[in-house]
């Protein structure tokens, strides 16, 4: 069924808007470099995209590659919102940078477009296209402050590992194609059931390789080794975008993948992934215990969070699908918030961001507003009630309990208990007195105000989702019920 021309344009509007934004920004950079105008234009692009996603529509297939259903629109809106926040955080950071500034926004828009394509992907080709667009733009963003040794190193590390992951992913799809002769998700799922034993072995190997490739992107153990170095080296706002959007959208895409190619069709893979989830929770939490660098703590905690996020994929069911979307939304808010707080204290000058634990000593007495955002964000990461983090954790546990996955539930509980230690350490250090540093500091400027607005929006979202989660929950339920 081919959709009419109008409905196709209407459905594809978010992607078209993003693409148009990219072209405009590029032209503007070529003609007149104006940091503020470009930042404003980027924000406008994201806001329009966000707005377009809110218009209710029926689900439309654009070719066999892309499908724009409610899930996709939900995820695109999430990317756009994260994009707005990232621009607000980036503005002050990039303003202080003494190289070219404007390309950062171009890269951000491209990365966001890649993530949005990922949200609509229902075919191996569009999956790879989206993932590569996202990754290639991210290399540039990570290594943007390339005069810093760490930043450059992080960029190259991400480039190499990401290329390896893409190669694995491609090989996996090649094997699956060899066995099934299909590349579209649904078609692969149905084809898997009628394979002979030999073909099935090939297909299973391919599926395993696909998960390996995506495991890199999600930084699941044992494919997590790049995470801490890259998060530490990248500029703080970029780390936030990388941690939230790049991971979250791979998870949304996986939601589509497992609804076509169910994990129950491949019991071996299911078992292996259960082990991976438990390992990710263990390694992430135990690794974070040993870090003294805030960005590295957040990196390890994000490994643990992907471990939690994998649980609903493993158990399956409607609550589990809700859990994934709720988790991704809440996780995006709290990750952006944490890295946002790091951003507001950091700048591109000097060898690294303000990411040492000592930089945070006595922060509450020096910059109470930053701590008032950062501390709740960390409590949310730890999963305390009245924050979005609790909602996310509760959904994961509910999904696990519903399917009697007691071991996974226990792993989540044990991981959260360990996690408390390093989150609390990070929080309490902000309240401890710092010798000679108890005076109030405060810089009120345009740049600190934009980042401040971002943090304000995030804390409102965090507490709003925590205290009154009903709008999000009913939204998620509606989105998933509309899916065929």
């Amino acid at each position: 069924m081919n959709p009419s021309w109008q409905s196709a344009v209407q459905a594809g509007a978010p992607l078209l808007l993003m693409a148009a934004g990219i072209v405009l920004v590029m032209l503007l950079i070529a003609s007149a470099r104006n940091h503020r105008a470009i930042a404003q234009l980027t924000t406008l692009g994201f806001l329009l995209t966000f707005g377009v996603c809110l218009i209710p529509q029926s689900s439309v297939e654009l070719t066999t590659l892309l499908v724009l259903d409610d899930t996709a629109r939900f995820a695109i809106a999430l990317v756009a919102a994260a994009g707005v926040i990232t621009v607000l955080l980036l503005y002050g950071y990039v303003e202080a940078y003494d190289g070219v500034r404007e390309e950062m926004y171009l890269l951000l828009l491209i990365a966001a477009l890649g993530a949005m394509v990922l949200a609509c992907a229902q075919h191996a080709a569009s999956l790879l296209l989206g993932l590569e667009t996202l990754s290639v733009a991210l290399f540039g963003m990570i290594a943007y402050t390339h005069r810093r040794r760490r930043s450059l190193e992080a960029g190259i590390k991400y480039l190499v590992l990401s290329a390896a992951a893409s190669a694995t992913l491609l090989f996996g799809f090649a094997l699956v194609y060899a066995a099934c002769g299909e590349l579209q998700f649904d078609a692969i799922g149905t084809a898997l059931d009628r394979l002979s034993a030999d073909e099935r072995a090939i297909a299973w190997a391919g599926l395993a390789l696909i998960w390996v490739g995506l495991g890199f992107k999600l930084s699941l153990v044992p494919f997590h080794l790049w995470t801490a170095d890259v998060y530490e080296g990248a500029p703080a706002p970029v780390s936030g975008f990388l941690a939230s959007v790049s991971k979250g959208l791979v998870a949304v895409m996986l939601l589509r993948w497992v609804s076509s190619v169910a994990l129950t069709q491949t019991p071996m893979l299911h078992l292996a992934l259960s082990v991976v989830a438990v390992l990710s929770i263990a390694v992430g939490n135990l690794g974070a215990l040993q870090q003294n660098n805030v960005k590295r703590v957040l990196a390890y905690s994000s490994i643990a969070h992907t471990g939690y996020l994998l649980v609903p994929f493993l158990v399956g069911g409607l609550v589990a699908r809700e859990a994934v979307l709720v988790y991704v939304t809440c996780y995006t808010v709290m990750t952006l918030g944490c890295f946002g707080a790091v951003t507001i204290l950091s700048g591109p000058a000097g060898e690294q961001d303000a990411d040492h634990l000592y930089d945070y000593r006595g922060l509450f007495w020096r910059r109470p507003l930053v701590t008032s955002v950062f501390a709740p964000m960390l409590l949310a990461q730890a999963g305390l009630p009245l924050t979005a983090g609790f909602l996310a954790k509760m959904y994961v546990l509910a999904a696990a309990v519903e399917r009697h996955a007691w071991w996974l539930a226990l792993a989540v509980v044990a991981g959260s208990a360990v996690g408390l230690y390093y989150y609390l350490r990070l929080i309490v250090v902000q309240f401890l007195p710092k010798p000679g540093g108890m005076r109030r500091e405060g810089v009120l400027s345009e740049t600190s105000v934009t980042a401040g607005i971002a943090l304000l929006l995030l804390i409102v979202a965090l507490l709003g989702l925590g205290v009154l989660p009903e709008p999000l929950l009913s939204g998620v339920t509606a989105v998933l019920n509309s899916a065929p």
């Binding site: 409590l379 999963g383 305390l384 009630p385 009245l386 609790f390 509760m394 546990l397 509910a398 309990v401 519903e402 539930a409 226990l410 509980v413 044990a414 959260s416 208990a417 408390l420 230690y421 609390l424 350490r425 309490v428 309240f431 401890l432 989660p469 009903e470 929950l473 009913s474 339920t477």
Partner: protein, 514 residues
């Protein structure tokens, strides 16, 4: 005249808003936060007394199907999961709320001179903690209960971590106040998460049986459970509450947290937070899982009796006065556990009375320890002595609370312990006999405190300031309340008899289906 159900959320909101105001008012003056704290807690006391005064206490209804509340307040919150803001109060809850209010006032009052740093933020944490506790004693929705359960943790963590003391003994072993606070938090939170899993499992089982998501206490009471399910869920709930109570193998956080916390924090912990564990057992574990609880009772009673003797034994060898008092709490809470799992109405009443009396007496002892620390700057028993002559009023107060703690007839603790023992003896004679030995040990450690602190040669010749007017007022109020509890316990027992009889009946025969 009818009571407005809005009084219940008000009990939580007053300290909550009071905390915010106190924090903000710090910039006006340092005494403002103290007065705001005092007034908001006094207001909660007044509300609790008002409810008591106007309540039509339901008569004794052992075979009534549904629990009876004096007041109930319900507002939908997350319909997707059947979660609501559901508060209800009965005699049991009301007494605990009143205890929280009274000890809240005392906590604010005893910090008047001790806390000089970050005064506003201190009162924010103190009041939010109290707000959480108030909510815990009234929540009838398991989700809400869990939320409030956690809400009371975070401020307590800050109270210990930011305003606590680092004891000399602790510092040698590298144990700072942050260490104590983190230990407290991790113990309680991980047990809490276990309870969350159990809650979700219970709710899910209820949904399987009825097709309806609900976290409501009234609905979940009647969830059909198989034997294994009931036992597993009961165990998870029990562990969460046992950490708080604390039951002996789960107690290691307690001596550290109590001794390192500031005075208000210790009062709060010993007086109120420990009671949330006992309250949880009474309100949730026994009614929700009666059969499994009955099966588990020998183990729970064994742990309780062991705790009585173990806590008392360890109290005897402490050199830090706050650690000593902390271990006596472990011992006294063993009696509460014994009373709860003995399950007869008399034993339950004894447990409740002991909770109230212990809250007041131990709160008083911790306040006196705090006063002592302000004067001598030490908590080592070896560096005290001779206070009977140097500060006679202070010495009298210490003597009184030591006697209360050892269970002198005429004071609340005696009534509580006596009722627990009387109520338990017909059910578990051997355990009761062993537990009674704890009373002898209690006499030993109480007199040990008196001996070490009040008598003997003074460590130095410095004069010691006697109790000030504010301190006399605080101590006097507690002394009067303990005497009232000890001499006229009947009104308290009458108020709680209905719910306790019902809990006892459910525990004995299971919850009858509606």
């Amino acid at each position: 005249m009818g009571l407005s159900p809005l009084l219940l959320p008000a009990l939580v909101l007053i300290p909550f808003v009071g905390g915010l105001l106190a924090w903000y008012s710090e910039r006006l003056s340092l005494t403002w936060p103290r007065w705001i704290g005092l007034l908001s807690m006094a207001a909660t006391c007044a509300i609790a007394l008002w409810i008591w005064g106007h309540a039509e206490v339901p008569g004794i209804v052992p075979d009534s199907r549904a629990p009876q509340w004096i007041l109930e307040y319900k507002l939908s919150w997350i319909p997707r999961w059947g979660v609501s803001f559901h508060f209800g109060i009965d005699g049991l809850g009301l007494l605990m709320v009143l205890l929280t209010g009274v000890l809240g006032v005392l906590s604010v009052a005893c910090s008047w001179r001790e806390i000089q740093q970050y005064v506003g933020f201190f009162h924010l944490n103190l009041l939010w903690n109290l707000a959480g506790v108030m909510g815990v004693f009234m929540a009838l929705d398991l989700f809400l209960f869990f939320v409030l359960w956690e809400v009371m943790l975070v401020p307590m963590y800050f109270l210990i971590a930011l305003w606590g003391h680092s004891s000399t003994a602790g510092a040698k072993r590298g144990h700072s106040r942050v260490y104590a606070a983190t230990k407290f938090f991790i113990f309680t939170q991980s047990a809490g998460l276990l309870m969350l899993v159990a809650m979700l499992a219970l709710v899910w089982l209820h949904q399987q049986a009825t097709g309806q998501w609900s976290f409501n206490y009234h609905d979940l009471l009647y969830t059909p459970l198989t034997h294994a399910q009931e036992y597993a869920l009961m165990l998870a709930f029990f562990i969460a509450f046992a950490v708080k109570l604390p039951v002996v193998p789960l107690h290691p956080w307690l001596p550290d947290a109590h001794s390192q916390a500031p005075t208000a924090g210790s009062v709060d912990l010993a007086g109120i937070l420990l009671k949330t564990g006992a309250y949880g057992l009474l309100r949730f574990v026994l009614p929700l899982f009666p059969h499994a609880s009955r099966e588990f009772a020998p183990i729970a009673i064994g742990l309780g009796v062991f705790g009585i003797l173990y806590g008392a034994k360890l109290a005897l060898v402490q050199t830090d006065i706050k650690r000593l008092v902390a271990y006596t709490s472990v011992s006294h809470m063993g009696f509460v556990l014994l009373g709860i799992y003995a399950g007869s109405t008399i034993a339950l009443e004894g447990a409740l009375l002991l909770m109230l009396a212990h809250g007041l007496a131990t709160g008083g002892l911790f306040i006196l320890c705090g006063e002592l620390y302000e004067r001598l700057h030490t908590r080592e028993l070896g560096q005290m002595g001779g206070l009977a002559r140097r500060a006679p009023h202070y010495a009298t107060a210490v003597m009184f609370f030591a006697l209360a703690s050892l269970g002198l007839p005429g004071l609340g603790n005696f009534v509580g312990e006596f009722l627990v023992l009387v109520g338990s003896f017909p059910v578990r004679p051997w355990a009761t006999m062993l537990a009674a030995l704890g009373l002898i040990l209690a006499a030993v450690y109480s007199l040990y405190i008196v001996q070490k602190v009040l008598h003997g040669p003074p460590a130095d010749a410095r004069p010691v300031e006697d109790l000030t007017a504010r301190e006399r007022l605080m101590i006097g109020a507690i002394i009067v309340s303990l005497l009232v509890l000890g001499l006229f316990p009947q009104p308290v027992l009458d108020l709680a008899r209905g719910p306790l009889t019902q809990i006892g009946a459910w525990y004995a025969h299971g919850v009858p289906l509606p």
